[in-house]
Symmetry: C2
């Protein structure tokens, strides 16, 4: 316990993962992981700042937060760092028009993005939308670009649902990287920039957070 | 020309690729590449032994040869080294029962293979059958095995059809390799064993073939 106390010395905030840590997803729903609702409540009653940092890319931020609230979590949209809003900022900054290989559940996040005549591909956890036809379209868009840009929302290998393990976006990123001979830019964990932006939103430095 | 003549000194046979070299495929059909029908005919009239070595894994050997004959090529099944028959030999030798992530067009090649209670995955150019559901099933089979075995018919990045470039099996192999943390065994080009077996069938050593 002493070692644990030492380790927490100077810590002023906590970044919490969401899927697989707070809850296990299921088709359109999910179940809280035992003890997690109470753990979040206790952290929020403590002196620590709390922020949620997710790679969730099947649901819009609004849908994710609504689901977590229904499951009993004390959480609001402003407390969550999510990859889709971060990606939209990058697209606008760099004048990129994406072909979106994404789940329908997150499409509304890109409503303000010009997707005509694509000059990049954005790939997220598309689930059933990872059809051969959609993957091949993304591949063809990339192969026709002089400087192919592939932006990936996370790079996870798999995640757990109540029904079992599920292939995550990282597998499909590897497929396109290999086919096109390119490397994706990852928005989301484990990208250091992503953690930094979550810390900025908390007003903390890296050594002040767990 | 002298250099070319020197290079061919001692050559007694020629291994010919098929898809993208003799013909470009199209949905259920294809078109010969200019000059290739005559080139095969001339090789066959020469003193050289000729064999066809393909990674084709969407069509059965019979269907592939029938298509090539219809396109005007002088070819028979016995002259072709193809990955599906080679894979069936490996499965039988090692007592492997595959989950088949393959195109329906090649399923008949595996008629004699026990696919109950799978203890490996065989992946080929499945085309539209590369659905998320089928990929996830292959992933789950591999993750449940103590020693996951993934056998891939070729490892191509993409191939050309008359309609454009198409993602090949290699991309999907990379996806499963990354998700499961494993490495696939490749049956087909560029595996040296595959070329060796084609040479054996010609009765030639590697230095005697082009």
């Amino acid at each position: 316990m002493a070692a644990w106390g030492q380790r927490l010395a100077g810590v002023r905030g906590v970044l919490l993962d969401v899927s697989g840590v707070l809850f296990d997803g299921a088709e359109g729903s999910g179940v809280p992981i035992a003890g997690s609702v109470e753990a979040v409540a206790r952290l929020k009653r403590s002196r620590l700042k709390v922020r949620f940092c997710t790679n969730e890319s099947q649901k819009s931020l609004g849908d994710l937060v609504r689901l977590l609230q229904q499951l009993g979590f004390d959480i609001s949209e402003g407390e969550v760092t999510a990859p889709a809003p971060a990606t939209c900022l990058i697209l606008k900054e760099r004048g990129l028009r994406p072909y979106l290989l994404i789940h329908d559940g997150i499409r509304s996040e890109f409503d303000q993005i010009d997707t005509s005549n694509p000059n990049c591909v954005v790939i997220a956890d598309a689930g059933e939308s990872f059809s051969y036809q959609n993957m091949n379209k993304a591949f063809q868009v990339l192969m026709e670009l002089e400087n192919p840009v592939l932006i990936s929302l996370g790079k996870g290998r798999y995640y757990k649902e109540t029904s079992g393990l599920m292939l995550d976006v990282g597998a499909y990123v590897k497929a396109l990287e290999y086919a096109c001979g390119i490397e994706a830019e990852v928005v989301g964990k484990p990208s250091p920039e992503y953690f930094k932006s979550a810390l900025q939103e908390m007003g903390l430095e890296a050594h002040q957070a767990q």
